[in-house]
């Protein structure tokens, strides 16, 4: 291997690492606030990438039917809860189950957007509300279950979402047009505009998230919920709504990742799962709770994947997933006393 190849691989690794960092961010966010290990995170990526591809091909992104179904189901569930005397927050319900899905449907069916920005907007409108809708249907009734139980539920949800992905998008893979198809030659190493877009967008999103958690009132409320659920509720923070917000953010990050990655890699209905899992490996390196650690882990995972695809391409998944064994081992060395599980 010469320097040129190493630089190319490094560039690939940065692009993938940026995506994994976004995944890890979403996973850490959802886990720390709701204790859900969101295995289906990658499915949002798939849905977004394949919807984008469908729109660009002039087809109807049929996932809109899933969004409508979820919205109707949530409305039914909330009405049922209301009739049983449970206090329902109708304002947020209307936003997630009526306004945003209606907007997405209008964009998909009415306006057939040509410009890339509008197409991306449609994808965001399609995918983001799925987060809170899924949260309300699947996880909210189990808010007090153990981490392990929620994990099993998340895995079941993953199966459903992959199956639905196959149903709506079919088994063929798709790629989308590059967001920025410029490319330069830097001393023999081709640098594509697309990779710059991916890395730059990821950095902007990461900074936005840090700001959101560090400064904004909603972010602080989420952090409070993550640290102590009961305490947060006593302070008047509606912890159910914090679930909505995290899942919306997770879906939004997933949609962004999908739009970013689709021009770089061919996406199949089940590709998202592997992307999400690599985000997990990154998040685990950060201990499932720390954001900076997760980002560092993501860069490491991206580079490792990229270089191992050069040396042992058949085993690149094995190498990446096996990485968590030494990581967990290192973490377990620092654990001496047992703690009760939640």
């Amino acid at each position: 291997m010469d320097l040129q190849i190493a630089l190319m691989l490094g560039q690939d690794g940065m692009v993938n690492g940026a995506i994994y960092a976004l995944m890890a961010l979403a996973l850490v966010l959802v886990f720390s606030v709701t204790r859900v290990i969101l295995i289906p995170q990658g499915e949002f990526v798939t849905y977004a990438a394949l919807s984008m591809a469908a729109i660009q091909a002039g087809k109807l992104p049929s996932i809109v039917w899933l969004l409508i179904t979820l919205a109707v189901l949530v409305l039914i569930v909330e009405t049922w809860r209301h009739s049983r005397g449970v206090r329902v927050d109708w304002k947020s319900t209307v936003v997630w189950a009526v306004v945003v899905p209606a907007m997405a449907a209008a964009l998909v069916f009415g306006l057939k957007p040509q410009s890339g920005w509008l197409q991306a907007l449609v994808v965001f409108a399609l995918i983001t509300p799925m987060g809170p809708l899924v949260y309300r249907l699947v996880f909210r009734p189990l808010a007090h279950a153990s981490v392990l139980f929620l994990l099993i539920v998340a895995v079941a949800l993953h199966l459903v979402m992959v199956g639905l992905g196959l149903y709506y998008f079919g088994a063929e893979g798709s790629r989308t047009n590059a967001i920025w198809d410029a490319s330069w030659d830097l001393g023999g190493v081709p640098v594509s505009g697309q990779s710059l877009v991916v890395v730059f967008t990821a950095i902007v999103l990461l900074i936005a998230m840090f700001w959101f958690f560090g400064r904004s009132i909603i972010g602080k409320a989420l952090r409070a919920t993550a640290i102590n659920r009961v305490g947060a509720r006593l302070m008047g923070i509606p912890t159910d709504l914090s679930g909505d917000v995290c899942f919306a953010l997770a879906a939004l990050i997933g949609a962004a990742s999908g739009i970013l990655i689709a021009p770089v890699t061919t996406i199949y209905y089940d590709t998202g799962f592997l992307i999400g899992l690599k985000g997990f490996v990154a998040a685990i390196i950060g201990g499932l709770t720390g954001y900076p650690g997760a980002v560092a882990g993501a860069v490491l995972v991206g580079q490792l994947e990229s270089f191992s695809s050069f040396w042992a391409s058949a085993y690149k998944e094995v190498i990446v997933f096996t990485l968590i064994i030494p990581v967990l081992w290192w973490r377990s060395l620092n654990t001496r006393h047992v703690e009760d599980e939640e």
């Binding site: 290990i37 539920v153 006393h337």
Partner: protein, 609 residues
């Protein structure tokens, strides 16, 4: 009929029906048997032990590939040319078990010290990796797999027909259920059950929770490997598909749907899911009008519904419906065993000898000093009370002197041994018994079982002895000891009641009985009188006085001042993490600083007008 008789009836029906079943049904039952074997392991791991694995299919794969490789690879054939070919499958079994055991041990050693979900995540990664390894290794046939695996032969007779082979599958399955059932009904079984309700409690009873979790994980992995070995010789062909992560997920669902705390739930779950998949594969393409792997959608949605609506699975629902049909087994199976078996007793130190000594114990949480240079000792034959307002650092101090956490500085000695960095179970081994401020009992289990857990360290028999029922003598002695302590604490009328259905105050007494079952030298009681009525408090005080008379050392944290003042020989008062007074009840009551701490500062400067 009792449970046991029903089981025999079901087995007899299966035996009678076996020759009459259609080949299709035999095949179905064979697969159900193989799946159930994996699910039984998961019931033990997830339902009973409270940890889970998404890598079971990969262990099945190891079992299958190990024997496939030994039976077909030219390399293996050359190395094993001196072996009779009929023996090869058995070598394959041994190899599969060894490889599985080693890999499971490494995975477990790395993830089990951490919270339970790290094992689950670790096994997801491992399950995925192994699938790619199987698919990419030339020597293992890549994604096309290995064919031409020889049939199993027993005494020169080849088991080529599924009907004959099925007998092996079901015999192995039923034997493993029998062994697991025995294991759960033993000293080690109680320790395994204790894992789920909190490791801190189990460790305080002397259970090495990391070791128990490791053994459970190994057990589940080995059961999966045996299932894989049988699968390879039933199919005579292996490829990576049945060992993928998705199949691991299905195994877990079998355990959860059936009823993850019940061994028969594994068989039920395996049956339901096998039949369901079978039906869905035919039905769905017709409904949806296109072909594809759509059963996974319906399957997943059903899973979500079951997880939300019937988290304990279907088996408990069935047993609740059929309760009237089942006669409870002779409840006193153990009392029939009333033997002369007595447990070894610890020799208590002479009265007045210091049993526990804490010197300059300091604990800092970031900026907060929860304990500041606390000195305290407890002597044999005395009741030492630790009191102080809320937030004084009593609970933190309890954790420091019982191995739940380490002090930042200072030292703790128990029976003259330094306990720096030692886990709770080491404290238990030296004779420390304790109760918890927030009651930690196995709510679903009877009072007898809960108390018997306390005697864990007084038994020796391990897993294998328990599985093969070689522990009955010792078990009878443990249960007899538990009965004795229950009687002593006045709980005889509750002995077979699930612990969670007792009033909270009585649950605290159960905790005391559990601690006594260990025959401790020193007893740490965290608010034992809370929630007790007046007469019950008196009975408790009498019990504690009696224990003191026997030479036990007692350290009591309590808020009920009347209780403390009448009982304690010495009192240590803690405020803001510091000792502000030490002495007998009269001295402490007269101490102005104590009055200040409890009643507030007398405002000498007067109230502004």
């Amino acid at each position: 009929m009792t449970n046991r008789q029903w089981t025999w009836l079901a087995i007899a029906l299966l035996v009678i029906a076996w020759p009459l079943l259609s080949p299709f049904n035999v095949t179905l039952l064979n697969y159900i048997g193989l799946y159930a074997m994996v699910a039984v392991g998961l019931v033990m791991l997830t339902g009973v032990g409270g940890i889970t694995s998404f890598g079971q299919a990969a262990f099945v794969g190891l079992g299958a590939y190990a024997t496939a490789w030994i039976c077909t690879s030219p390399v293996a054939a050359q190395a094993l040319s001196w072996v009779h070919p009929d023996v090869l499958p058995w070598l394959g079994l041994v190899l599969g078990l060894i490889v599985t055991g080693v890999i499971a041990w490494v995975l477990g050693a790395v993830t089990l010290p951490l919270s339970g979900h790290f094992l689950a995540l670790g096994t997801i990664a491992w399950g995925l990796s192994l699938y790619y390894i199987f698919g990419n290794l030339e020597g293992l046939g890549g994604f096309t797999g290995i064919s031409g695996i020889q049939a199993l032969s027993i005494a020169g007779y080849e088991l080529t027909s599924p009907r004959l082979f099925g007998i092996i599958i079901w015999v192995v399955l039923l034997l493993s259920i029998w062994a697991m059932n025995n294991l759960l009904d033993s000293r080690e079984g109680r320790a395994i059950r204790a894992l789920k309700s909190g490791r801190v409690m189990a460790e305080s009873m002397g259970v090495d929770t990391s070791r128990q979790r490791m053994k459970l994980f190994l057990l589940a992995a080995l059961l999966a490997a045996i299932s894989g070995w049988l699968y390879a010789h039933l199919q005579r062909f292996v490829n990576p598909t049945p060992f993928s992560l998705n199949i691991s997920i299905e195994y877990l669902f079998m355990a959860v749907v059936g009823g993850s705390g019940h061994l028969w739930g594994a068989v039920l779950g395996a049956t339901l899911i096998t039949l369901l998949k079978e039906q869905l594969q035919d039905l769905l393409p017709q409904l949806l009008g296109s072909s594809g792997n759509f059963e996974v959608i319906v399957f997943g949605i059903l899973m979500l519904l079951i997880l939300q609506r019937a988290a304990d699975g279907i088996w408990p629902l069935i047993t609740a419906r059929t309760r009237g049909w089942v006669k409870p087994a002779a409840a006193a199976a153990a009392s029939a065993h009333v033997t002369q078996a007595v447990l070894a007793r610890r020799k208590l130190p002479p009265a007045g000898q210091v049993v526990l000594n804490a010197t300059q114990v300091t604990k800092r949480f970031a900026g907060l000093v929860a304990n500041d240079a606390v000195d305290l000792d407890v002597k044999a034959g005395e009741v030492h009370a630790l009191i102080g307002p809320n937030g004084a650092g009593k609970s933190t101090f309890f954790n420091m002197i019982s191995g739940v956490d380490d002090p930042t500085s200072g030292s703790v000695t128990l029976m003259g041994q330094s306990m720096a960095g030692k886990p709770s179970r080491a404290f238990a081994a030296l004779g420390m018994g304790r109760t918890f401020q927030h009651v930690r009992l196995l709510g679903q289990r009877s009072v007898l079982e809960n108390v018997a857990l306390g005697a864990h360290l007084r038994g020796r028999k391990g897993w294998v002895a328990a599985m093969l029922r070689r522990d009955r003598h010792e078990e009878a002695a443990l249960l007899a000891e538990a009965r004795k302590q229950i009687e002593r604490c006045g709980l005889m009328s509750y002995i077979d009641t699930p612990a969670a259905s007792l009033p909270l105050g009585q649950q605290r007494v159960v905790e005391i009985a559990r601690a006594l079952a260990a025959q401790p030298t020193i007893l740490l009681l965290d608010e034992p009188a809370a929630g007790l009525r007046h007469l019950e408090k008196q009975a408790l005080a009498e019990l504690l006085i009696q224990l003191r008379g026997e030479g036990m050392a007692l350290l009591v944290v309590e808020h009920d001042m009347e209780f403390v003042m009448n009982l304690a020989d010495r009192i240590t008062v803690l405020e803001f993490g510091k000792v502000i007074a030490l002495g007998n009840p009269a001295e402490v009551q007269a101490n102005p600083r104590v009055m200040e701490a409890y009643l507030g500062v007398e405002d000498t400067e007067g109230v502004p007008a």
